[in-house]
Symmetry: C2
Subunit: 318 residues, 2 copies
């Protein structure tokens, strides 16, 4: 099978395997986007858990706006994996993070799912190359890694394994976009993918600081919530530094502050700032700025910081 | 001199040294809070630069709400450092990051500033212990490290040097709070303080990924803006992981996912998860949660994510 059975817009039924927080979050997301969802989990209370998870998410999803025909009633929790995938237009697996379990489960899902239907795993810890080894048609298996809660955080990281074919990765990315997600398609498998690598670097530095009595939990969280964290929903860390360079942007930042990469400002050593890396950073920021001047980006940042602070203050009041 | 001359609420005049982006940002902040500001910078166009910086910031500050009597007209750019500090109730130094320059400048500021007036440096790169060596009264010098732009980002990190007395650090923290900032007072000097250490860990991991062709600039920024970055203005990275542990909170997170600290999910190695560190993380999250249950924190997070996304979308439209 070298091509997908369904067009992205032709999918009506999505199968979700796993009734944990991530599996339930996916169920809620697909229901809110108007899909019929078939779900399965070996736990005896799977239906109860999923119904509760979806019920808890529904007010937020209603507030965000439901698709035509979206309803909690479109969820059916079925007793077997085979029934769950029989009519699937897309399968999202969100089982516990256990490599042997994932291998076995994906092989079972693959065996029962109609040909040409893409199967995605929510894994955050494994590569698809490690997981797809026991499947009969590994070419349609991809990682589609979401963030908690999957019905609110747009990001999905898509990456195939060694045996995945390009059409499957590309179809999954298109489908996720079609259902409202923000998709990063990675060319190569990388432990932690992208977002969790960044998050993990910050987390480990934080653990070191607490372990050494250099900062408290509350100081670390305040340092982010009341500091750089206010900029990041609007402009990522690299575009943020593009602005820190003033009119010269990232080029000035690197040429001027490059030596600070040698400073002991974290336990993580920086790479050598080669001309190639310098240019990749500069060109990347220029591409991301997409013609917006530094002054325009600054104005956008300032509007966003004010709006984000107000939004958070209001959300805290409830 | 073992105590401050002014009560925090008694300060009427603030002196800002330096007419760069940070210095100008401080000028704008203090003007907006209703202070008279005296400023000095050796650049011949200092007045012009500061007037422009304040003018650019003023619409945002007006939108946020000005203090009674706040006016851009309350800024006076004076020709000498001595005139700038003569009537200061508080001095904020924001000169370029150059240790020799800072040492000399702080010695001059200290010599000319009335006794018992606290002098703060905006430095991000040096410790006050390194900078205060040539001053006659080092006990009143502290670091007050802001984030760009200082008139919008609330965080200020306050830390003294070896020769700083406790009253000065405590007075500076109180004064910054009085003018609307969110203050972290650090017990010990740490390169990069707290927020920049976290930011720097993320930045260095990002540079490694670009250097190795593992991710592009745009993918890295999207990974944050559309992923974990949406959570961080409301709940910092550690409280975020407290929620990731489900009802068991940070304790469950560490007991369950602790082994993942050995995973190669970043180039930064994690510390050993000793019982002491585990308990410090758990107790810190409990303290920060301040009685809010996981369910309440989840509801707060979800409200915040929705509100933040809307705020950012609106800010991007302009």
């Amino acid at each position: 099978m070298s091509e997908p059975t369904y067009e992205v817009a032709g999918v009506r039924t999505v199968t979700c395997i796993g009734a944990g927080v991530i599996g339930g979050g996916w169920v809620a997301h697909f229901l809110a986007r108007g899909y019929r969802v078939l779900a399965w989990d070996p736990a005896p209370d799977a239906a109860e858990k999923l119904t509760r998870l979806v019920g808890n998410a529904w007010p937020a999803l209603t507030e965000l706006g439901l698709a035509d025909g979206a309803s909690q009633a479109n969820l059916t929790v079925v007793p077997t994996l085979v029934e769950a995938v029989a009519e699937a237009g897309f399968v999202q697996e969100s089982a516990p993070e256990d490599l042997e379990l994932k291998r076995r489960l994906l092989a079972e899902i693959d065996a029962a799912t109609p040909a040409g239907v893409v199967i995605a795993s929510s894994t955050s810890g494994y590569s698809m190359s490690e997981m797809q080894v026991d499947t009969a048609t590994p070419e349609r298996l991809v990682v589609g890694h979401p963030f908690n809660p999957p019905y609110l955080i747009p990001l999905v990281e898509v990456v195939g394994g060694r045996l995945t074919e390009a059409w499957a990765t590309s179809w999954a990315a298109d489908f996720y976009r079609h259902v409202g997600k923000s998709v990063i398609t990675m060319e190569n498998e990388l432990p932690g993918f992208i977002a969790n690598r960044l998050q993990e670097a910050l987390w480990r530095e934080a653990l070191h600081m607490v372990a050494n009595g250099e900062a408290t939990v509350e100081q670390i969280d305040t340092a982010i919530t009341d500091g750089p964290g206010l900029r990041w929903p609007a402009q990522g860390p690299l575009l943020t530094f593009h602005l820190a360079g003033g009119e010269g942007g990232m080029a000035h930042m690197l040429d001027h502050f490059g030596p600070s990469l040698k400073s002991p400002w974290t336990r993580l050593e920086a790479p050598e700032l080669t001309p190639k890396l310098r240019n990749a950073m500069v060109d990347g920021c220029d591409a991301e700025a997409a013609g917006r001047s530094i002054a325009e980006l600054v104005a956008e940042r300032d509007r966003a910081i004010i709006a984000v602070q107000r939004a958070v203050a209001q959300a805290r009041r409830g």
